[in-house]
């Protein structure tokens, strides 16, 4: 709990810290929080988008992000000291993007298979994915 706001939390304390932000569309951003507003819109500086696939990850440098508050799922401070000691393996951007695409394709195929199976059994439904992740 902060001194500013007893009993609750505020992003004010996270300013100028390196944060990891997860967005509603599933993206993971890591950047320095420079500014906020009352809607928890964030200004991230030196942001990288980190894509995780399995045990590997890849970073895409993005620069400055302004994130609308409603799209943030969660955020947390990055432990800068242990940042280097991740159990994950970093790969290049191209590699990770390829991996991500493959994973996406596999997922879609699985979904399609399920849908067909259900359809055969008489269940039809359309699902609107909202926030996914």
């Amino acid at each position: 709990m902060s001194g500013y706001l007893p009993g609750t939390a505020s992003l004010v304390e996270e300013i100028d810290k390196k944060l990891l932000v997860v967005l509603r569309d599933g993206r993971t951003l890591i950047g320095y929080l420079r500014s906020i507003d009352q809607f928890a819109n964030l200004v991230l500086h030196r942001t990288i988008e980190r894509i995780h696939v399995g045990k590997k990850y890849g970073d895409i440098p993005r620069g400055i992000f302004i994130v609308r508050g409603e799209n943030v799922v969660l955020l947390g401070e990055v432990d800068t000291e242990n940042e280097k000691n991740l159990p994950l393996e970093e790969v290049s951007i191209d590699v990770i993007l390829d991996m991500q695409r493959e994973m996406q394709i596999a997922k879609e195929q699985e979904e399609e298979r399920k849908r067909k199976a259900l359809q055969e059994r008489g269940m039809h439904f359309t699902e609107q994915p909202e926030d996914f992740m």
Partner: protein
Amino acid sequence: MENAIHVMSSSGMPALGLGAGIPGSHDNELIEAPEEEEEFDVLNDETFGNCEGDWDEEEHKRFAELEGESFFDLQPPDHTKDSGYGNAERSYRSQEEFLEQSISRLMEEEEDDKAKFFGKGQPIPFSGRQQQHGQVHLDQLFGPSSPPALLDTEHLDLLQVSPKSRNIWGTPSHDSQFRKPADALRKLFDTAKAGQRGAPSPAPQVYHPPMPTQSPVGLPQAHTLEEIERQMMSRSRTPQVITAEELERQMRGEDSPRGEYSRTPQVVNHHPQIGPPPQLPPGLLPASALTGEMPRSPFPPGMPPMPLPHHMAMHPPMTPPPGKPPTGMSPINQHPMANGRSSPINIKGLPPGQNLSSPMGRSSSTPTPPLVRGMPPHFQSPHPARLVSPYSIGNSPMAVNLASRMMTPPPNMPPHGHIPHGPIPHMPPMPNSPMGTPPHTRIPPPSNMQDMSPHSRSQQQHHHVVDRRQEIYSQHGNGEASDKHRAYRTNYQRPPPWQKNQPQRRQHQHPQQGEEVEDEYAGLMTQREKDWIIKIQLLQLNTDNPYLDDYYYTYYTLRKKQEESGHTDSMARFLIPNFAKIESRAYTPAQFEGSLGRLTTASVHNPRHIIDVSGGSSPSEDSSKKNVSKELRKFRQLLMDIEKGYILLLDVDDIEKKVFAVPEDSRLSLFLERHEKICMLYQYFTSDESIEQYMQILSVRKGRKLLARVLPLFTKNQAHVALCILFHHMQALVRKDAAEGGLVSLTRPVCRAMEGSDLESLVRLVNILEGEKPPQTGSYLQTLLKNQFSAAVLCGLLNQAEQVFKDTSPVDMDNQLQTEWSQFVEEFAEGLEKMALKDLPVATFLLPLTEAHLSRHLNAQLVGKVEEKVHRLTTPLQTTASSNAAS
């Protein structure tokens, strides 16, 4: 925008160039133009430009030439066209056109100097956009979408360059015209400074540019480098706070309340010697103004302490630097902080993105080395300036620092000779961009120090820049920080020590540069903005009923307070500050009398009633209800009623808590409210309709619980009535309860409720218990005694009776009542006797007096018989066991 510009330039009016498409340029025309299209003659003189003085054909030709050159082939400008400039001014209708022209010239000249300038690191506007430079500028100048900062940056870049070449040939009169934007900048700068210093600058004013106020750019006065430096030096007080609005006003060339600033004559003098003139482009001035007045300067800790050491170091080498007029240096000397800032600005003013000083930009710790790297001071300064001045409300000191910083590098770099002027022009743009441009050289405000990483904080402390920061901090009342900084200021010697210290201070493994860049960006959000956010959040936390809205936190803090204050006092009541406004909660919107219909005044507190969404019953709902089983419906209704009872109970609870938090005078209303609610509850249990439902209510566990909780709230009379009703149903209840035994929850409250009853009430109760019809004496007791609750109730009755007998002398008691009571006691004993011990329920509630009572009324023999049983009934388990063992 650029496309638009292109179109315009090919519109066939090359002379007007970019100004053609700009709204401002047509101002005069529009004012005069007739409204209806048919009314003006498309072929008239005005349209075709035969009017005298509308424009000068010659001039425009020249301009067209220039324009063509500047935009598409960066050839050296034809300076012989200078003479036409004055005329050109006349011919231009607005400041924008003028500016445009000057910008185009600047561009041309800039190309000249390119060779001298550092080729690698150019400010972003320059690099890669040379061809469209002019267009870009114009876009940004005149397009509505251009942020002022960017605009000024462009401006600065151009103007910074141009005066240099301009002044060599130009006379003050010419220059003045050309430098109108610069003048405005200077003027603004002066104004800002004047406000701080409280006295006009000693330097006489060279020119008083009659800055046209039409320009949306608001070109402020430019200032010579030395002038700025001097001003900064002389200023030793804490910078004033300058609000964003003030800055904007200044930008627009209005007179700030701070007074007019004297202009420096050095503008002209120094030009030949110093490279980029101190004339600050429009954008620059606000920055300098900012710097002068910023109480808070979010300079990153990475701000190299260079400024100060530079300053110190520069005193001796004042004269050595070739071509540096002592006067130029004096400002630096005067202003330690400025000095401190200048070199760092130069070095790392550039955003990482800019190639100009990628090494420089990063190494805040090495102001000198980057400079030594041979970055042309000219370019250095612009970039740092642009980058450095972080514009935010509390940024003026920062800007000043930037300016001073920019000035200091020159002394440090004799070889370059014209560094100082570079940075300054670029300063203004920064302030204008509300946090838009990365504040490379921001020093986080003192209050930010708390949230800064330790590493950056330590860096900060070691930086001399803090000198300025100290002022800022002191303004904020952060004495601790300022003390530290003061100490550092004195200790700080030269850049090298600062450089050396830098790595030590780093706690992280980050590369030096990366850290500094990050530190530079730290503090983007000023303390004021943070406070604003916190204020909003606190507002959201306001609540009328913390027990309701934030139950756990409320109790948590209560408990904590209790622990702190000691364990003696009872649960401290939570004092809610906004409870005081408890009375004014009812808000009735303004209503008008005598008006036809109902006038509504919608406001935040009284929004317009658009749609009535209430839980009203719709026809469909009724019909569907009928389908549901009647009993089920009734049962549901019963449950709902019980729930309502609970809500009333909760309200009473809340009121009880509120009572302590509210001042005395408002408590009465609370009490009344509470009483009212209790009465409602009472009604619920005792009204005729409820009596019919009584059994049902009490068959629901929640109903029982409700009754149990409500009984203590009742007044004596109310309680008695409730008990009567309860006893009335006792038999039935007991029968029903045989399996479940849920009535026990009522035991204690009932017994408690009986406390204080007089004999009469007791007798009445007993009579009720016995039933209407002539009782088979004692038989009713059988059932009652079997059930734990009823048995306990009976014993409770006896208990209370004993109490009564003890307290009142026999004289006062009614004889008949006594007789009746004795009769009851005998019946009780006999009934008890008939029952086997093992059938009797075990007591849960201690009724100490029952036994004694029996002794009082009964003969010893009978007492002896039932003693054990009574004991069992009236003494809770643990003692019963012991008694069993004993017997």
